[in-house]
C-alpha cells in the first residue's frame, strides 16, 4: 500500500532537504519512492510543498486532494492551507512557528494566531511539535526541519531505518552534532 507524505512550509525553511533525507532512507529500506517538488516562482518567500510517496510500486508522483496520509508543516498557516490534501483520518504534524506573508506584514490581512488550537479541536490526529523553538534551544534555528523529521519518523513508525548516518550525510559537517540532537529531540517528543 502506497503511503503519501506531504511536506509544507515557506521557501527557505528546508523542506526539500528533509524530503531528500527521507527518500534516501526509504530507498535503503527497499521501497519504491517518488518525490515531487515545484521550483520556480515558489522560491521567493511563497508557499512550498514537497510530496513523497513510497510503497512496493509507486506510480503518480503528486498527491491529490484527500490523499495525504500525513502532513508535516513547518509553519502554522501553511498547515491550514494544506488541509484539503489530508486523507480522512490522516495525521497532521505541525510546528507552531509563524512566518508572516506580505498581506499580513502590511496589515491588510490578520494572522490567525489561534489556528492550531482551532485545528486540534476540529480533527483528531494533530501532533504539535515546537520544532523551531527546540532547534533554537539546540543552538541552530535551521535544524527545525530535522526536528520535524524525527517526529515524522516516529509517527510513521519508520524507526527501523538507520536515519542518523543519512542525516549526517546531508547536513554540513560542522552542523552534524546539532542536527543529530535535533533528530533525537523530534523523535522523543
Amino acid at each position: 500500500m502506497t503511503k503519501n507524505i506531504l511536506l509544507v512550509g515557506v521557501g527557505g525553511q528546508g523542506t526539500i532537504l528533509i524530503s531528500k533525507i527521507l527518500s534516501v532512507g526509504l530507498v535503503q529500506k527497499g521501497y519504491d519512492v517518488k518525490m515531487s517538488e515545484i521550483h520556480g516562482m515558489s522560491q521567493r518567500g511563497g508557499s512550498v510543498t514537497t510530496q513523497i510517496k513510497y510503497g512496493e510500486k509507486v506510480y503518480a508522483p503528486n498527491i491529490g486532494e484527500g490523499e495525504a496520509d500525513i502532513i508535516i508543516s513547518f509553519e502554522k498557516t501553511e498547515t491550514i492551507r494544506a488541509l484539503p490534501y489530508l486523507k480522512k483520518g490522516g495525521t497532521v504534524i505541525t510546528d507552531v512557528h509563524e512566518i508572516y506573508s506580505m498581506p499580513v506584514l502590511t496589515g491588510t490581512v490578520e494572522y490567525p494566531h489561534d489556528a492550531i488550537d482551532v485545528l486540534e479541536k476540529s480533527i483528531p490526529n494533530v501532533i504539535v511539535v515546537k520544532a523551531a523553538e527546540v532547534a533554537q534551544k539546540l543552538g541552530n534555528t535551521r535544524a527545525q526541519n530535522i526536528v520535524l523529521l524525527g517526529a515524522l519518523v516516529k509517527s510513521m513508525k519508520l524507526d527501523d531505518i538507520d536515519w542518523e548516518p543519512i542525516v549526517a550525510q546531508f547536513v554540513p559537517a560542522k552542523a552534524k552534532d546539532v542536527n543529530i540532537a535535533a533528530f533525537r529531540a523530534g523523535f522523543e517528543m
Binding site: 521550483h39 520556480g40 506510480y59 508522483p61 508572516y100 485545528l119
Partner: protein
C-alpha cells in the same frame, strides 16, 4: 539495487545525455527545464561541451550546427522557449541530422511558473519531428539515449517532451556507463542542409517517406507497449505523466496502451487495441492530442468530455472525472490561511525601481516582462499593467505609444527587461525603439545574473556554464552603440530613490526614446551576500511615528507590529537602506557596516 540512484527527471535526462555519448548541449534557462543543463555543466562538462545560450533559438541553432557537423547534440528549453526556437527547429525537421539531434521541450501544465500551459506535443506533427514522452525518471534516461539512436536511424530530430511533474519528480534510475560515440565526419551536403526552395521541396518529400517508415517502427517498438488485464472491459490509451495517474486510479483492472513514441503515432497498434475494448478511455493532460488521433481512426472514446483540458492532472482528478462518486471532505476547520504570494526578496534592487514607478503612474504606462521583476506587478507597487513574453517589454511599448497618442493619452509608455532578458531578445526590441524613434522609456534592470531561474550565468557574467572565465559583454556599450544620444541615457543605482526619480523626470520630460539602465547586483549572489553579512537596518521605536511610509516598499523584512514598524527579520535584511530613505523622521538606521 546497488546502482540505482534517486534522480529528478531533469537529472535523469542529463545522465542520459552523458550515457548516450552526446558531445554538445545548449539551453536557455527556463523552469522546469533548467536543471538539465545545470547538471550537465556540473557533472559532465569534461565530456560534453555545454553552454547557456542567449536564447532558445540560439540554443537550437548551436545544437543544429553541431549535429550537421557530425556531433550528437541536445538543446533544452521550456515550452514557451520552443516558440522562440521554432524557426530553426522547423527547418531541421526537413533537413534531418548528421549526428543525433534531440530537442527537449519541458511543458508546464498548470502554469506553475509560466505565462501559459501550451501543449507542445502539437509541435511534433507540425514541425515533423519524432516525439518521445517519458513517464518517470528511469524513462527520462532511457528515452534520452533512445532519442539519439532514433534520430540517427531515421535521420530526424527527436523531441523529448516532458512536463513539470516529470522534470521535477524524483524516482529511482539505474546508472549505466558512457557510450563511446565518435563524431561523424562532416561533409558538405548542400542538397540536404542548404535549405533553399529546391532543397526544401526535395527534403519535404523525403521527410514524408521517412515518417511512413518510422510509423512502421512505432507500431512495433518497445516504447509503445500494451499491458493486458484479465478481460477486455476497460482500455486506456495514455502517455507521459498521465500514464502514472491512470495506473494509480485503475490499477490492474484496465488494459493500457502506454505510448512512449508519440510521433509518428502507431496507428495500427492503436486500432488493434481500441477494437477489442468494451470501454475506451484516453487519459492525457491539456489538449486532446491522442484523442483526436483515436477519433480520426473511427473509434469513440471517453476523454476530454470528462477529463479537464485546463490545468495539471493528478490521480484524484482523473478518479473523480472517470469514476465519479462524492468525495468526503477530510476535515472542516474554521480558519483561513492568509495568502502567501511570492515577493521581491529583502534587499532586491528591483524594489527601488518599482517604488519609483508607483510614484509616477500618472505620467507613465508601465509594461513588464519575464523574470523576477514580474513580482513587481502586485499592489501596492502596481509596477506594470501588462506583460507578454521575453523581450516584449521593450517592443510592445512601441505600438502602445502609438495607440496612447491616437487616443490623446499623454502618458509615456515605459517598458522593462532584465539583463538576461535583454540579451535574450530585448536587444532586438531596443534597436527597434531607437530606429523607430518611439516616444517611450526603455528600462534595463541589470542585476548581473539570470535570477528567477536560480542564478545561471549569462553574457554579462564573468563565468560560463563550464565554470571557465568568459568575456563580459558590456551591456551599456551595446546600448550606446544603437546611436542614442548620451543625454537620453541614465545609468542609476535603483536603491538610490532620488537618483531614480531624477532619471524618471528626465525620461518623462523629453519626447522620443529614453533609456534607463539600473545597475545593482541581485542580493542573493554569493559575493553580495558576503559583502552584506552583518548589515541590517534598525527602526528606533521612540522615533517611529507609525506613518507606515516604510511599509509602502513591501519589504518582507519589515512588519507593522503593535502600532509600530519593526525590522521583524534582521537576518534577511541586507541593510539596503531603502526604508531609511522612506522615513521622514530619521527613525531608521543602518548598522553593521
Amino acid at each position: 539495487m546497488m546502482n540505482k540512484v534517486i534522480m529528478s527527471g531533469d537529472e535523469a535526462v542529463a545522465r542520459g545525455v552523458y550515457e548516450a555519448g552526446c558531445h554538445v548541449a545548449a539551453a536557455y534557462p527556463g523552469t522546469p527545464s533548467t536543471e538539465i543543463l545545470e547538471n550537465i555543466g556540473e557533472l559532465y562538462k569534461d565530456d560534453i561541451y555545454c553552454e547557456w545560450a542567449t536564447n532558445e533559438k540560439v540554443a537550437a541553432e548551436v545544437a543544429a550546427g553541431a549535429s550537421i557537423g557530425g556531433a550528437r547534440a541536445l538543446c533544452a528549453m521550456k515550452h514557451v522557449g520552443m516558440n522562440v526556437a521554432a524557426d530553426p527547429i522547423f527547418t531541421m525537421g526537413y533537413a534531418g541530422v548528421n549526428g543525433g539531434l534531440v530537442i527537449v521541450s519541458a511543458d508546464d501544465p498548470g502554469c506553475h511558473s509560466s505565462q501559459n500551459e501550451q501543449d507542445n506535443r502539437l509541435y511534433a506533427p507540425h514541425a515533423k519531428l519524432a516525439m518521445m514522452e517519458p513517464s518517470d525518471s528511469q524513462e527520462c534516461k532511457d528515452f534520452t539515449i533512445a532519442a539519439f539512436e532514433l534520430s540517427e536511424r531515421f535521420d530526424i530530430p527527436v523531441m523529448l517532451r516532458m512536463t513539470t511533474r516529470v522534470c521535477h519528480s524524483k524516482g529511482l534510475v539505474e546508472q549505466g556507463v558512457r557510450a563511446s560515440v565518435p563524431v561523424k565526419t562532416y561533409e558538405r551536403k548542400v542538397d540536404k542542409f542548404a535549405m533553399l526552395p529546391a532543397t526544401a521541396r526535395k527534403r519535404h518529400a523525403i521527410r514524408e517517406q521517412l515518417l511512413v517508415e518510422m510509423e512502421a517502427y512505432s507500431n512495433a517498438c518497445p516504447y509503445n507497449r500494451v499491458e493486458n488485464a484479465k478481460d477486455d472491459k476497460i482500455g486506456i490509451i495514455t502517455s507521459g505523466i498521465s500514464y502514472e495517474h491512470a495506473r494509480e486510479v485503475f490499477g490492474d483492472d484496465a488494459n493500457y496502451l502506454k505510448l512512449g513514441l508519440t510521433y509518428p503515432l502507431p496507428r495500427d497498434l492503436i486500432k488493434g487495441f481500441a477494437e477489442r475494448m468494451e470501454t475506451l478511455y484516453v487519459i492525457e493532460e491539456n489538449d486532446p492530442y491522442l484523442e483526436n488521433a483515436v477519433r480520426a481512426l473511427g473509434f469513440d472514446c471517453i476523454g476530454k468530455d470528462k477529463i479537464p483540458i485546463c490545468g495539471e492532472l493528478n490521480a484524484e482528478i482523473v478518479r473523480s472525472a472517470l469514476k465519479g462518486g462524492e468525495k468526503e471532505a477530510s476535515c472542516n476547520v474554521p480558519v483561513e490561511a492568509p495568502p502567501r504570494p511570492p515577493v521581491l526578496c529583502a534587499g532586491c534592487p528591483h524594489r527601488g525601481f518599482f517604488y519609483t514607478i508607483s510614484k509616477n503612474l500618472k505620467k507613465i504606462v508601465p509594461v513588464g516582462d519575464i523574470g523576477c521583476y514580474a513580482l513587481g506587478v502586485n499592489a501596492p507597487l502596481n509596477g506594470f499593467d501588462f506583460s507578454i513574453c521575453m523581450g516584449a517589454g521593450l517592443s510592445s511599448i512601441i505600438g502602445l505609444a502609438q495607440a496612447l497618442k491616437m487616443q490623446g493619452d499623454s502618458r509615456k509608455a515605459l517598458g522593462m527587461v532584465g539583463d538576461s532578458t535583454f540579451f535574450h531578445t530585448g536587444l532586438n526590441s531596443l534597436i527597434d525603439v531607437i530606429s523607430s524613434e518611439a516616444n517611450v522609456i526603455a528600462c534595463i534592470l541589470d542585476n548581473s545574473i539570470t535570477a528567477m531561474t536560480g542564478h545561471q550565468e549569462n553574457p554579462g557574467t564573468e563565468k560560463n556554464l563550464m565554470g571557465r572565465p568568459s568575456p563580459v559583454v558590456d551591456l551599456v556599450a551595446l546600448v550606446r552603440a544603437t546611436g542614442i544620444s548620451e543625454d537620453r541615457i541614465r545609468i542609476v543605482d535603483p536603491l538610490d530613490l532620488d537618483a531614480m526619480q531624477a532619471a524618471m523626470d528626465a525620461a518623462i520630460e523629453v519626447s522620443g526614446p529614453f533609456i534607463i539602465i539600473t545597475k545593482r547586483p541581485c542580493a542573493l549572489i554569493k559575493d553580495v551576500i558576503k559583502a552584506n553579512a552583518g548589515k541590517h537596518c534598525v527602526i528606533h521605536a521612540d522615533k517611529c511615528k507609525s506613518c507606515k511610509q516604510c511599509m509602502k516598499i513591501t519589504c518582507p523584512a519589515i512588519a507593522f507590529q503593535d502600532g509600530r514598524a519593526v525590522i521583524a527579520d534582521p537576518a534577511s535584511c541586507t541593510g539596503c537602506g531603502l526604508c531609511q530613505q522612506m522615513c521622514k523622521f530619521g527613525a531608521i538606521e543602518k548598522v553593521g557596516e
